[in-house]
């Protein structure tokens, strides 16, 4: 009897698998035959109206592409970091040039976006030396070059050029990026984690965002496919999921425990999504957090890896802020390292780690460089990822070079080592100071609480808005946090992003403010912010 049970279980499972394959095939056949004779009605209407429209009364008002006929997924997606508030700010900036006296401030301070060099952060000299030499390779043959460039930058440029077929920095590369540069990145990952990394797992991308898009495109077939995303989240995820027509499955970070990530919450949301018929495909974790700034504890990361393994989810690890950790009690651990140290190998868990040259101490946003390291995927899936990468041909070469440089910076003994370290430490310690100053200032404001920025580049304070302010926002047909941010902008010239752009627990209000203005500007920002907040509260206090 018992053996029979086991045998039956085996048989039935086998049958189920076969049936599943058959039914999938049937499903796709059904879908195909569906589309030919019985096209969904909107298409029938639009095509017939097209036909009647052709030739006769085609007035110029009925252009082929109008807002009404755009891809609804495009209309649906939102990207608040560059949304309405930023548009207002840009207009103010233009007007400020002409009407200097019309405003209580003399400049717009962009705290909306993690764009350090636009706020005066200087690039790392060594990196730029190498890039300049690779941009104009004829310099390497000039003796005067030795007077203007550090000797190790010249060596490094030669080394990089030797890895590029024909030394051609103007040629398309391999779709995953130049092999020699991927070798350097893999070596950098290995040095970071203490576990091997394979250059063939690296896909270099124009910033981290295209990698995220690629994975979403791959994983999402329809709104039945769900992606677990933290709330609050970086809106790239919500926008990309919307653009690809999938479902965002939210899990809430716990503000009270420093934006903690609870496995019980993940489980609850997963079950909830599944009960709605959604197949959850992946879990997004942003570590260090954006906009929330928390750095995950290793123990917590282990639980997350186990959760993904158990539930068969792809772990999409946004690790672009890995160099931005500001508190001594926290350390960055890559998910790959955590998974490997748990004994999980290639077969156990699907993991994608995203890295960017836009963040860290380098902050080279305009270069659009980054990579993703993909592990745990079967070879047929990897082939699909490669194909997606190849439709884009390749990512830009100077971004590729820079990505290899940040993963293999100067070493002790190199000509540039001391200046490199000084520049790096200078930037990171200043960021830590700025984060602390701003956090303390925010926590002093009436009705404002702000978790510390353990990492990343942002503060995400919670503002307890008075009822009167909420009513005023409603009257102005805007969300209360956007109302607050607009008032802040108009009063101080400081641009921040309303929490609603990142999503938040309903009924709570936040904004995201970068810690990136240069240190000498921070006191003035604190003053203006404090003054504004006081007058805002005076105006709306219950």
């Amino acid at each position: 009897m018992r053996r029979f049970v086991i045998g039956q279980a085996k048989n039935l499972i086998d049958q189920t698998r076969q049936a599943r394959h058959k039914s999938l095939r049937l499903l796709s056949l059904l879908a195909a035959s569906d589309s030919a004779p019985v096209l969904s009605s909107p298409h029938l209407f639009s095509s017939s109206s097209d036909m009647s429209g052709s030739g006769s009364d085609s007035s110029s008002s009925s252009l082929p592409v109008t807002l009404d006929s755009l891809n609804p997924k495009v209309l649906k997606c939102e990207y608040a970091v560059r949304g309405e508030i930023v548009n207002i700010a840009q207009k103010l900036q233009e007007d400020l040039k002409i009407n200097k006296d019309a405003y209580p401030f003399d400049e717009i301070i962009y705290c909306n976006i993690g764009n350090p060099q636009s706020l005066g952060q200087q690039p790392i000299t060594f990196f730029r030396e190498v890039l300049a030499l690779c941009s104009h390779t004829a310099l390497l043959d000039e003796s005067a070059t030795h007077g203007l460039f550090s000797s190790d930058s010249i060596d490094r440029a030669w080394k990089i050029l030797d890895q590029i077929p024909g030394k051609a920095t103007g040629a398309y590369s391999h779709s995953q990026g130049i092999k020699g540069l991927r070798d350097a990145i893999a070596a950098g990952i290995e040095a970071r984690d203490g576990f091997p990394a394979d250059p063939n797992d690296i896909f270099m991308t124009d910033g981290a965002s295209p990698g995220v898009h690629m994975m979403m495109q791959l994983l999402i077939s329809s709104e039945k496919d769900g992606i677990l995303c933290p709330i609050p989240q970086y809106p790239l995820y919500s926008a990309s999921i919307a653009l690809h027509g999938g479902s965002l499955v939210p899990y809430y970070l716990d503000e009270a425990s420093g934006w903690g990530l609870e496995i019980s919450e993940l489980k609850k949301q997963l079950q909830d999504a599944r009960s709605k018929g959604i197949t959850v495909r992946a879990l997004v974790v942003i570590n260090p957090g954006n906009p929330t700034g928390q750095v995950l504890a290793e123990e917590n990361q282990r639980e997350i890896v186990d959760f993904c393994k158990k539930e068969g989810l792809v772990l999409l690890a946004d690790e672009v802020y890995q160099e931005n950790v500001y508190v001594p009690d926290k350390k960055f651990h890559s998910f790959k390292k955590v998974a490997r140290s748990m004994g999980y190998g290639e077969k156990d868990v699907c993991l994608v780690s995203f890295q960017s040259i836009s963040k860290g101490y380098y902050g080279e946003c305009g270069k659009r460089g980054g990579y993703m390291e993909i592990t745990g995927f079967t070879s047929d899936v990897r082939a699909q990822i490669y194909k997606l990468a190849s439709v884009n041909l390749c990512s830009n070469i100077s971004g590729q070079i820079l990505a290899s440089l940040v993963m293999s910076p100067p070493k002790p003994g190199d000509d540039s080592y001391d200046s490199y370290i000084a520049e790096k430490e200078g930037i990171l310690s200043s960021l830590a100071k700025r984060a602390k100053t701003l956090e303390e200032a925010l926590n002093k404001l009436e009705g404002v609480t702000c978790n510390r920025a353990e990492g990343a580049m942002y503060l995400f304070p919670c503002i307890n808005l008075p009822q009167k302010a909420i009513a005023a926002a409603e009257a102005a047909k805007t969300s209360p946090d956007a109302f607050y941010c607009k008032r802040l902008l108009n009063a101080t010239g400081i641009v921040v992003v309303p929490g609603s752009g990142f999503r938040q627990v309903p009924g709570t209000w936040h904004f995201r403010c970068t810690i990136l203005p240069q240190e000498d500007k921070i006191p003035a920002i604190v003053n203006r912010l404090t003054e504004f907040h006081k007058s805002f509260m005076d105006e709306f206090r219950n």
């Binding site: 086991i6 085996k10 189920t16 969904s40 060099q117 203007l148 836009s358 946003c365 830009n396």
Partner: protein
């Protein structure tokens, strides 16, 4: 209990194809089934849930067995070990499902999409290269990879922008000419934080202004910088626009055949329908409007709403330049049929025949006047990857929109903003491309010499290649009027078709693979671009170095002769 659940999950899975809404109706115990799978309609998820439930209940049964049967005699321990084997099997089943899922569950549009330029031939060529064989890569229009030297002036300017501290060094003049220094300062002043800061998502306003001025000089009509978006290569722009236009498979895009596979790949990724129109090889790849009309009518009869038309001018892979009269017909057609025209004009500098100059779609449209000039929506694409620049690795490009309503432009802006900004150094390359050194500038002579040298050599290479192909047995090739490619037709003998079939290859793939193995010349089979049935082509670039060209054509000829001798059994050929 166990049977019941498994049976339910199994049957429900099998029945999914028929009862999408409630798979449990066909099971023996519908209520139990419904209770178990909780409304799942996805086969994989439902099976997952069913197995998880089964495991839970089995575990309960085991626990009960453990508790109740305290005397651990042989029977009970067998029972427990059987339970454990059951768990193992179920675990394996779950894992299998997940692994099978990995590929099965991927976006079908991704799996469908094909991209031949970096497909099978390219991969094989890379393998051979690793094995030490000399490979001549003529599969991608990638001039610098084949030895073309970058233009000096733009590289000097960009190097200075990369390392702006050089500008403060008193010795900078020893390495850089004064006009490069001035230009670097100019471009840095257009940025907000140099090359390391995100720019406006549409590109630096100052560079977009220079692009608009270039278009105005080229066409004689004003151009609005607000309607110009800079992109990471032209491909990104094409994807952004198609993403806005395509809502689903009911939306069709007219695409020339043969075409550059970016279009088929992108349309397939976005889940739209490619509506082909055939270029006429016997008319030097001319575009026949009657042909277009037929394609549109046919697509519409299948319920497809045709929304846009792509032209590639000069043609890729076909190399033809469209005449002004032809462009007028096309624009009229788009006006009447309410199609957005996507003008891929990335090869506008690559013109090799004086009697066939490049004319932009925008100029022709503006020349046509009302109602066309206000009624046809046009998006035109350009890049720094082609022309005599060939700066493929920079990923720089732009598109210009005409007659696109402001609210649509805003939506396109929003999509662009999700990618934050195009890379800034390529934006500067674009600025330099549209405003190169002028007569009188220090660098002018060198710049003019370099660019003229490249273009004239390309012109000679186009001729060597066309003539070379036409001198081969069973090969006919139209002249490359523009762009960077040669697209000869190979008339394959029946013996070759049969051999290809036996090898499980498309005939032109078979031919190209043989060519690669024999000569190291890496081409792209015509089937990657689309071609009429029963006709076979290959695409090569005209980019190998001029001095190597005769040798390459000789080795091609030798291979082709041998190939034809091997497979020609005297029974005629695949035809034009």
């Amino acid at each position: 209990m166990i049977f019941v659940l498994l049976a339910a999950s199994c049957r429900s899975a099998a029945a999914f194809s028929l009862f999408l809404d409630d798979p449990c109706t066909v099971t023996d115990f519908p209520a139990l089934c419904r209770g178990t799978i909780k409304g799942q309609r996805n086969v994989n998820a439902a099976t997952d849930v069913a197995i998880a439930e089964l495991m839970k209940r089995t575990r309960q049964a085991r626990d009960i067995a453990k508790k109740e049967l305290k005397v651990l005699d042989g029977g009970v321990s067998t029972c427990l070990s059987n339970f454990n084997s059951a768990f193992d099997n179920l675990d394996k089943a779950l894992k299998n499902i997940k692994e099978g899922d990995q590929y099965d569950l991927l976006n079908e549009n991704v799996k469908k999409c094909q991209y031949a330029v970096r497909g099978e031939l390219y991969l094989r060529a890379s393998e051979l290269q690793k094995e030490g064989k000399k490979i001549i890569f003529t599969n991608v229009g990638n001039p610098h990879a084949l030895g073309q030297k970058p233009l000096t002036f733009p590289r000097q300017v960009v190097a200075l922008c990369q390392a702006p501290f050089l500008l403060d060094d008193p010795n900078v003049g020893m390495l850089f000419p004064a006009d490069a220094i001035a230009r670097a300062k100019h471009y840095l002043s257009l940025t907000s934080g140099g090359l390391g800061a995100y720019s406006d998502s549409r590109g630096l306003p100052g560079v977009r202004k220079e692009v608009a001025e270039f278009i105005q000089r080229r066409d004689g009509y004003p151009s609005d910088p607000e309607l110009i978006f800079l992109t990471d290569g032209a491909s990104k722009g094409v994807m952004q626009i198609l993403n806005c236009v395509i809502r689903g498979e009911g939306d069709g895009i007219l695409v020339p055949v043969p075409q550059y596979p970016l279009y088929s790949a992108t349309i397939s990724l976005l889940g739209g329908s490619l509506v082909p129109y055939y270029l006429d090889e016997s008319e030097n790849w001319g575009l026949d409007v009657n042909n277009l009309r037929q394609s549109v009518a046919q697509a519409r009869s299948q319920g497809i709403s045709v929304r846009a038309m792509v032209i590639i001018n000069p043609g890729n892979p076909t190399g033809q330049c469209l005449s002004e009269a032809n462009l007028k017909e096309i624009l009229k057609f788009c006006y009447n049929e309410k199609l957005v025209l996507l003008g891929d004009e990335v090869y506008q500098q690559n013109i090799y025949q004086d009697e066939r100059p490049f004319i932009s779609s925008k100029k022709v449209l503006m020349d046509m006047g009302s109602p066309f000039s206000k009624g046809v929506q046009l998006v035109s694409f350009h890049t720094v990857s082609k022309g005599y620049w060939g700066e493929c690795g920079q990923r720089g490009g732009y598109f210009e929109m005409t007659n696109i309503p402001p609210r649509v432009v805003e939506e396109i802006y929003k999509v662009a903003s999700i990618a934050l900004s195009p890379n800034v150094s390529a934006q500067i390359f674009m600025g330099l491309m549209v405003s190169p050194p002028k007569p009188g500038d220090i660098s002018y002579d060198q710049f003019a010499r370099e660019s003229k040298g490249i273009l004239e050599s390309l012109r000679r290479r186009a001729k060597i290649m066309t003539d070379g192909f036409n001198s081969c047995k069973n090969v006919v090739c139209n002249f490359t009027e523009g762009a960077m490619y040669s697209f000869p037709q190979i008339r394959l003998p029946p013996g070759a078709l049969q051999a290809a079939k036996q090898a499980g290859k498309v005939p032109d793939v078979f031919y190209c693979l043989k060519l690669l193995e024999a000569t190291g010349i890496s081409t792209v089979p015509g089937s990657g671009f689309g071609q009429k049935e029963g006709v076979f082509h290959l695409r090569t670039t005209i980019l190998p170095a001029e001095e190597e060209m005769p040798e390459i054509m000789d080795s091609f000829k030798k291979f082709n002769d041998e190939f034809m001798a091997q497979y020609d059994n005297g029974f005629g050929y695949s035809r034009m």
